[in-house]
């Protein structure tokens, strides 16, 4: 009885470290209540209220902090994770700046679901227990399934259903892997898992199987090959702000969790073929993403394949491991968020004028050259060319990989490096289609209306992308002062 008492006390105490999460939850519930009262009106008020909630949540992050486990070992926190939480909130705020038809912003549920994805993502990175991770990641996924159909079009329902069915299956696989882990170690706490695998289970086939099954579930959340098939449909059919959001946040959170898991448990050293397997996943994701993108005509589908390829680059930081690995991975994620949100914002502006095919873009650059140049900056960053932070991100990730090769000279790492770097040339083909149509091709069929706000937001993204090239220290020195360890 007494022990239960202390545990409850610990749980209650733990909420003080989750102040921002509590604020988000309360805010989300309030928006739902508001929806009951004002129905489909008060778009501006709902938007401002949600942004205010997010701002307060962001400010509350540093109030009570702990470095290590809390809530009876279910969650953990570190200075780096708090920074990432703040970044996540920032991403959620950006989503509400997106232009879209009133239909979306009038729905209170829309705000609720966006906040739920955020809440889930914040819990994913803090989870120190497989079950907590599962609940958090499903909170992200289930909210995303619903968000994808918020365009209320038949195509959206189809995509949402595909996403749901495929997601449910991969969750099942992941759960099965977790059950094996429980069977092998008798615990779902990640620290216990690390002790168990280090002490006795090294290279046991059961362990490898458990890890592989679990990893398959993760790959689905990351939209990486071979679990990427849902992404193009979902991206094409979903409302653009939602797609920008789910192309960044779930991915980033699962990457951070995976890195924590790998760092803390030392899986690469005990499970045969872990890094080799990840390298294969990275290379296939890059190739599938980049090759399939070559044939796309729809902008959002193109971006779906592009983010599959980018996942292939980001996971290189995970393969590299170590300080260099995590810093390059977080740096890449931040830049990836800027690039993807910027690009989806660009697409959202185009969609307002009814443009969603690449060929519709022809000759539009001449009508608004500033807008096209801002888009060009983001595309250059996506290709990974200087002078944009997209280049710095790739440079750092591959530097981390080379550094890990120095310590552990295995040939496949060099192949990964070579193939990865040369994949940028492949991606040039399809990213350049957009400026080719806008700037080089002549004769336009469509009209384009761009407001000052649109230009201002895109300028914000572009300038950040340029600044982080010329001064990456601004970001990296912050990361360097924090620690990832718990």
């Amino acid at each position: 009885m007494n022990q239960v008492g202390t545990q409850i006390q610990q749980l209650i105490l733990g909420f003080s470290y989750l102040l921002s999460e509590v604020i988000i939850t309360v805010g989300a519930i309030l928006v739902l209540i508001m929806q009951l009262i004002v129905k489909e009106k008060g778009e501006l008020f709902k938007r401002l209220f949600t942004i205010a909630v997010l701002a307060v949540a962001a400010l509350s992050i540093g109030q009570q902090s702990i470095d290590g486990e809390f809530m009876i070992g279910l969650l953990w926190q570190s200075s780096l994770l708090r920074i990432i939480k703040a970044l996540f909130i920032g991403i959620a705020i950006v989503v509400f700046v997106f232009p879209n038809e009133k239909k979306l912003y009038n729905q209170g549920e829309y705000y609720f679901l966006i906040l739920m994805v955020l809440l889930g993502a914040m819990l994913v990175i803090q989870s120190a227990n497989f079950l907590v991770f599962y609940i958090a990641v499903e909170l992200v996924s289930i909210s995303s399934y619903v968000l994808v159909v918020f365009s209320f079009r038949p195509k959206g329902y189809e995509a949402g259903l595909k996403y749901l069915l495929f997601g449910a299956m991969s969750s099942g696989i992941m759960l099965y892997g977790m059950s094996l882990i429980y069977g092998l170690t008798g615990s779902l706490n990640i620290p216990d898992f690390s002790i168990a695998i280090i002490s006795q289970l090294s290279n046991s086939p059961w362990l490898v199987m458990a890890i592989v099954l679990f990893a398959i579930g993760l790959l689905f959340k990351l939209a990486m090959a071979p679990m990427h098939i849902w992404a193009p449909d979902a991206y094409e059919a979903g409302p653009t702000p939602v797609v920008g959001y789910i192309s960044v946040l779930p991915k980033a959170s699962v990457f951070i969790f995976a890195f924590a898991l790998v760092m803390y448990t030392g899986i690469p050293s005990v499970s045969w073929g872990w890094n080799q397997g990840l390298s294969v996943v990275a290379i296939t994701s890059m190739f599938i993403g980049n090759l399939a993108a070559l044939r796309q005509t729809n902008l959002k589908r193109l971006m779906a394949y592009s983010s599959i390829a980018h996942s292939g680059f980001i996971i290189v930081g995970l393969i590299a491991g170590g300080d260099f690995g995590i810093q390059s991975l977080v740096f890449y994620l931040v830049i990836y968020a800027l690039m993807n949100l910027g690009m989806f914002y660009f697409i959202a502006v185009l969609e307002q004028s009814g443009i969603n095919q690449i060929e519709d873009l022809s000759g539009l650059g001449k009508k608004n050259i500033g807008f096209s140049i801002l888009g060009l900056v983001i595309l250059i960053a996506l290709i990974g060319l200087p002078p944009t932070a997209g280049f710095t991100a790739k440079l750092l990730v591959f530097s981390a990989l080379w550094e890990s090769y120095t310590k552990n000279p295995e040939g496949y790492l060099m192949w990964l490096l070579g193939i990865g770097v040369l994949n940028s040339a492949l991606s040039l083909f399809y990213y350049l289609k957009i400026p080719y149509q806008m700037i080089i091709k002549e004769g336009s069929k469509k009209r384009l209306s761009v407001s000052r706000t649109n230009v201002a937001v895109l300028t914000f993204f572009s300038i950040l992308i340029l600044i982080f090239f010329f001064k990456p220290d601004l970001l990296l020195n912050i990361l360097n002062q924090t620690s990832f360890a718990f």
Binding site: D323, F324, W402, T406, L417, Y436, L476
Partner: protein, 542 residues
């Protein structure tokens, strides 16, 4: 003020020009043209200032012999237990790049004059042109590899648009082909740059990793056991890592040069590009490939000069002969000149591979001289293209009777290009072949057949140029379309052609003007590559 920051001013002056243009209304094209002209005139004056303040008597090659140095930390990335990555803003000149900076100053000004009759989207054109100029200058002047790479890769984007928007009928194909080829080349260099920056430290034994090319020259600055250090024992695909890295760098710059068999983007780009862009492409951009061999390939991996010199020489000779033979079969004048460029760039590889002072002095001079002569050739083919929109050799005959001045200019250009004594090309190719013979007789790097075949390349060059001359300019006057207005050279065209032709002649009669600038550095460079190469090889072979 400018005295201390001369090179920085050189790099960023065109960018300033572009900034000024941004504020000029789009329809005031004449102001934009004059801003461009003024900027490039000033740029040329500044390069002349740099040349005059360059002390060509400084001996040796390396960080001590750099002049007009500007160096300051730019990016300092600290990464946990790994240490930190230091990227510097580091620009300087020595005998390797001073001549190329001068060349860029000249050609970029000529390019503006040649762009005078661009009518389509003038503002965008000149802004891109200015950005291109900045990245060209930056590329030649950077001593930090990151900075070099930044300019090297950034130059592709304005080029892509300049060919893609203002080019000929197949411009979309040509521009993307250009972009992809050169991007692949620069990515190969990127791989090596990553490895080098992780292996080389600012102070021996420290953990401040650097991109400074000068630090990459000496083995003490390599971390012991790092992948590109001399004592690294691992290998990949049966190659030791340093040779593999050299191979990647070499391939990267060979695409830019371009060398056979990765030259196929060049004829397409040239044919589709507008005249001024062809001028810059042949006159300056290709030189960056040759310069990269020197500044990065040989400087950082001197041992490869000995172990792989034979192959470099061989590929040089293949380029000379093969491209010349392809040029013989061309029906388009611009394509012919493009292939002749590939052939002439083969000489640079041959001269460099010889590892003799004559050979390398000749190669540096060849970079300069070919810059002038090929610019002249493309300007002249542009003159014809402006009048007829057609460059098919077979569509013209007996132009001499109708266009006497143009014909004289063409004869001068062709003779300069085929290496007639008295023009700069002759001195350069003579020095290269002499160096190659010397290298074959006294050294062990080249074989005798290489300079012999190189000589044959000269004969082939004479053949295709004289043949073209005969077909297009002599005999009975005839053009395919009677509507073509065949008028002789205009004042603007004289303004470009006369200085270039005079320079080809001037540097042919007084090659010392260029050779003296680079001489001491070349001596130091050859000595460094030989000695350091021997040292490195002896450590590697242990």
């Amino acid at each position: 003020m400018i005295g201390d920051h001369l090179l920085t001013t050189l790099i960023f002056l065109p960018l300033l020009g572009a900034l000024v243009m941004l504020f000029v209304p789009t329809d005031k094209t004449i102001i934009i043209r004059f801003v461009a002209l003024g900027t490039m005139l000033l740029e040329l004056l500044l390069t002349l200032l740099a040349v005059s303040s360059f002390d060509s008597s400084v001996i040796g090659y390396g960080s001590e012999s750099l002049q007009l140095v500007e160096k300051m930390p730019w990016i300092d990335l600290s990464i946990g237990s790994f240490g930190s990555l230091l990227i510097q803003y580091f620009v300087a000149v020595d005998g390797l790049n001073i001549t190329l900076v001068l060349l860029s100053g000249i050609i970029l000004l000529i390019g503006v004059i040649s762009s005078w009759n661009i009518q389509k989207q003038v503002k965008g054109y000149f802004i891109l042109y200015m950005i291109l100029s900045t990245s060209i200058m930056g590329c030649f002047l950077a001593i930090d590899m990151f900075l070099f790479f930044l300019f090297f890769e950034f130059m592709l984007l304005p080029m892509y648009f300049l060919i893609g928007i203002w080019g000929g009928k197949k411009r979309a194909y040509a521009s993307i082909k250009f972009y992809i080829y050169t991007l692949v080349g620069s990515l190969l260099i990127l791989i090596v740059m990553i490895g080098l920056s992780l292996s080389v430290v600012e102070v021996p034994g420290g953990n401040i990793h650097t991109f400074n090319i000068m630090k990459m020259m000496s083995p003490e600055n390599y971390l012991s056991g790092s992948v590109l250090s001399l004592d690294y024992s691992g290998s990949f695909l049966g190659w030791d890592m340093r040779h593999l890295a050299f191979l990647l760098v070499f391939l990267g710059f060979a695409i830019k040069l371009p060398a056979v068999p990765v030259h196929t983007w060049l004829p397409d780009a040239h044919v589709e590009a507008p005249t001024p862009i062809s001028v810059i492409l042949a006159g300056v951009l290709l030189k960056i490939g040759g310069y990269g061999f020197y500044r990065i390939g040989y400087t950082i991996f001197p041992e490869a000069a000995q172990t792989m010199g034979w192959w470099i020489g061989l590929f040089g000779v293949i380029a000379i002969i093969y491209a010349a033979m392809i040029a013989l079969a061309q029906s388009n004048l611009k394509r012919l000149i493009a292939y002749s460029s590939v052939s002439h760039m083969g000489f640079v590889m041959l001269g460099m591979a010889s590892l003799t002072i004559e050979g390398n002095a000749g190669a540096i001079l060849q970079l300069f001289s070919h810059g002038i002569i090929s610019a002249l050739l493309f300007i002249l083919s542009g003159v014809l293209y402006d009048r007829t929109d057609n460059l098919r050799i077979a569509d013209y005959s007996g132009l001499a009777s109708k266009l006497p001045h143009f014909t004289v200019a063409m004869v001068i250009a062709f003779f300069a290009a085929l290496g007639l004594p008295g023009f700069s090309g002759f001195i350069a190719e003579f020095l290269i072949l002499a160096g190659a013979f010397d290298g074959a007789v006294h050294g062990s790097i080249l074989d005798h057949f290489m300079p012999v075949l190189g000589l044959l390349g000269l004969v082939l060059g004479a053949a295709y140029f004289l043949w073209t001359l005969q077909k297009m300019f002599f005999g009975q006057y005839w053009v395919r379309d009677k509507q073509w207005k065949m008028s002789d050279l205009s004042v603007r065209e004289y303004l470009m052609i006369v200085p270039l032709a005079l320079m080809a002649l001037l540097f042919g009669i007084f090659p010392g003007l260029i050779l003296d600038l680079s001489n001491q550095t070349v001596i130091g460079f050859v000595e460094f590559v030989q000695q350091q190469g021997d040292v490195n090889l002896s450590i590697l072979n242990k």
